[in-house]
């Protein structure tokens, strides 16, 4: 049990616990906050796994931008206390069923993995090395992803325009 593995277990407990709390919250703002903690833990995990750049990006994009966007929408649409019953039976049963099957597959896969993998060594990739690797080996994927982001941008702009046009008046929506 080295200091690294201790850190890993602590982070794993933090991530799992906060995620578990997040998915069962009725108040969406609380859910978002717990999820931010979870993503923050993931970022620390990435740092532990030797990816400082990814750790920073995880905090900036996941915990920062994406979760703020969620928070923003939740605050703007004002819909706390929407679900009168948190887990109606109609959703609960299939979810449990699917998750059970998934869990079984997971366990079987891990049990069947008999190759006695050694514990992972600790290493760190410098941001410059990683950047060079990324842009030399995966330049096409980078272009595709940037195209995807551009499409997302245009799509959201289109959606926003559309919503501003022929909608019910704001007062009616508020009711």
């Amino acid at each position: 049990m080295t200091i690294y593995s201790t850190l890993f277990y602590l982070l794993a407990v933090l991530i799992l616990a906060s995620t578990a709390i997040a998915v069962t919250r009725r108040n969406m703002v609380h859910a978002v906050i717990y999820l931010v903690i979870s993503f923050f833990g993931s970022a620390l995990l990435f740092y532990l796994f030797g990816a400082p750049l990814l750790a920073a990006l995880e905090v900036i994009i996941y915990a920062g931008a994406i979760m703020i966007l969620f928070l923003f929408i939740v605050m703007m649409l004002r819909m706390e206390g929407l679900e009168d019953r948190l887990f109606p039976l109609k959703q609960w049963l299939p979810a449990v069923g699917v998750c059970f099957v998934y869990g079984m597959v997971l366990v079987m896969l891990i049990v069947s993995d008999t190759t006695d993998a050694p514990p992972m060594p600790a290493a760190a990739a410098a941001p410059a090395t990683f950047g060079q690797f990324l842009f030399q080996r995966h330049w096409l994927a980078i272009e595709i992803v940037s195209m995807l982001l551009l499409i997302a941008l245009v799509g959201v702009l289109r959606l926003g325009r559309d919503a501003g046009g022929k909608t019910r008046p704001e007062s009616e929506v508020a009711q």
Binding site: H30, P52, L53, A56, I60, A63, I68, L71, M75, A126
Partner: protein, 328 residues
């Protein structure tokens, strides 16, 4: 082992010194701002507590500590209590990567004059500044008051919009220095500060930084005359004080970052490094106060238009030009 312990002690001392200096100068920045703003508006500013009002920050701090800490009954208690801490903490933590001098040799050990030199320091600063948005947005939401909620929403929208311009304006600097580490960026400016090569990036950075720290032409989240005090309408006592400390520490951190990225950091003739950095921070802060005393608050649509239609395209063009220049 003794080496490890010595390193730990040095680190703790550095943290204590930086934290103390930061908080003290935050308090006196408030004094300087009130005094200078007074003179800009042909007033006197605080002059009652002590000579030239120099004890005013202490009096303010005592007053805030003695005040009752009120939590609105319909507020979300835990979040309401934690939000100011988030704002103050993220602002304070940001200073950890700012170098304030060249490495010095103490008792045969080389001690770098920076709390922590991590290789993704620039991204670390951004990560903390995005997390600072939570303090504003959640403080506004948890107050359960319509003014605070509007302030929180405005703050979140404004800060994530200007985060982009802030980040994009720094990419030319990173391209020229070839590193995310602030120590390397300062070292790369040994001959010439980057403001000479990157005046556009400098202008964009300063504007975005002011929007990021909610300074006056961009203080829509707390617009006094339309929202009360915005996201901290419902706060009182030292929790309000924490928001205040966060704002002024943030101002200093942004001054320090401006100095590091564009003005050559701690580099300067004659005087030692920390003093040069301090002079540059104060210079940036004074200019921010001057801008505050001059410009009126932007309207919300003007704010968004400035961010998305002016600053971001300008910084993208700037990146393109810098890249072309570096290649040729």
């Amino acid at each position: 082992m003794s080496n490890w312990i010595a390193g730990f002690i040095v680190l703790m001392v550095k943290i204590a010194v930086v934290l103390g200096a930061l908080l003290l100068s935050a308090a006196y920045l408030v004094w300087a701002e009130r005094k200078l703003l007074g003179r800009l508006q042909v007033r006197l500013g605080p002059n009652r507590a002590g000579k030239f009002g120099l004890l005013q920050p202490i009096a303010d701090a005592l007053k805030m500590l003695c005040k009752e800490d009120i939590v609105p009954s319909a507020a979300d208690r835990v979040i309401f209590l934690l939000a100011p801490a988030v704002v103050a903490l993220t602002a304070l933590l940001m200073f950890a990567v700012v170098p304030f001098g060249p490495p010095i040799v103490l008792w045969g050990r080389e001690v770098p004059q920076v709390v922590s030199d991590i290789n993704v320091a620039l991204l670390y600063v951004f990560a903390l500044s995005t997390l600072g948005v939570y303090g504003v947005a959640l403080g506004g939401w948890a107050s359960n008051s319509k003014f605070a909620l509007l302030g929180g929403i405005r703050g979140a929208a404004q800060m994530i919009s200007y985060e982009l311009a802030l980040g994009l304006s720094l990419i030319p600097v990173v391209m020229m220095a070839g590193s995310f580490s602030l120590v390397d960026i300062v070292n790369a400016q040994a001959e010439m500060p980057y403001i000479v090569f990157q005046p556009v990036a400098f202008a964009i950075f300063v504007i975005a930084a002011m929007a990021e720290s909610k300074r006056i032409p961009f203080d829509l989240p707390e617009a006094e005359n339309e929202l009360g005090a915005g996201f901290h309408t419902e706060y009182s006592g030292m929790r309000f004080g924490l928001f205040f400390i966060g704002e002024y520490v943030h101002m200093q951190v942004l001054g320090a970052l401006t100095a590091v990225f564009f003005l050559g950091g701690w580099r300067g003739p004659l005087l030692p490094g920390p003093i040069w950095l301090f002079i540059k921070i104060i210079l940036v802060a004074l200019i921010m106060i001057w801008i505050r005393g001059t410009l009126p608050r932007l309207r919300y649509d003007q704010l968004m238009a400035l961010g998305w239609k002016v600053l971001i395209p300008a910084s993208l063009v700037n990146i393109l030009l810098t890249g072309a220049f570096l290649l040729v």
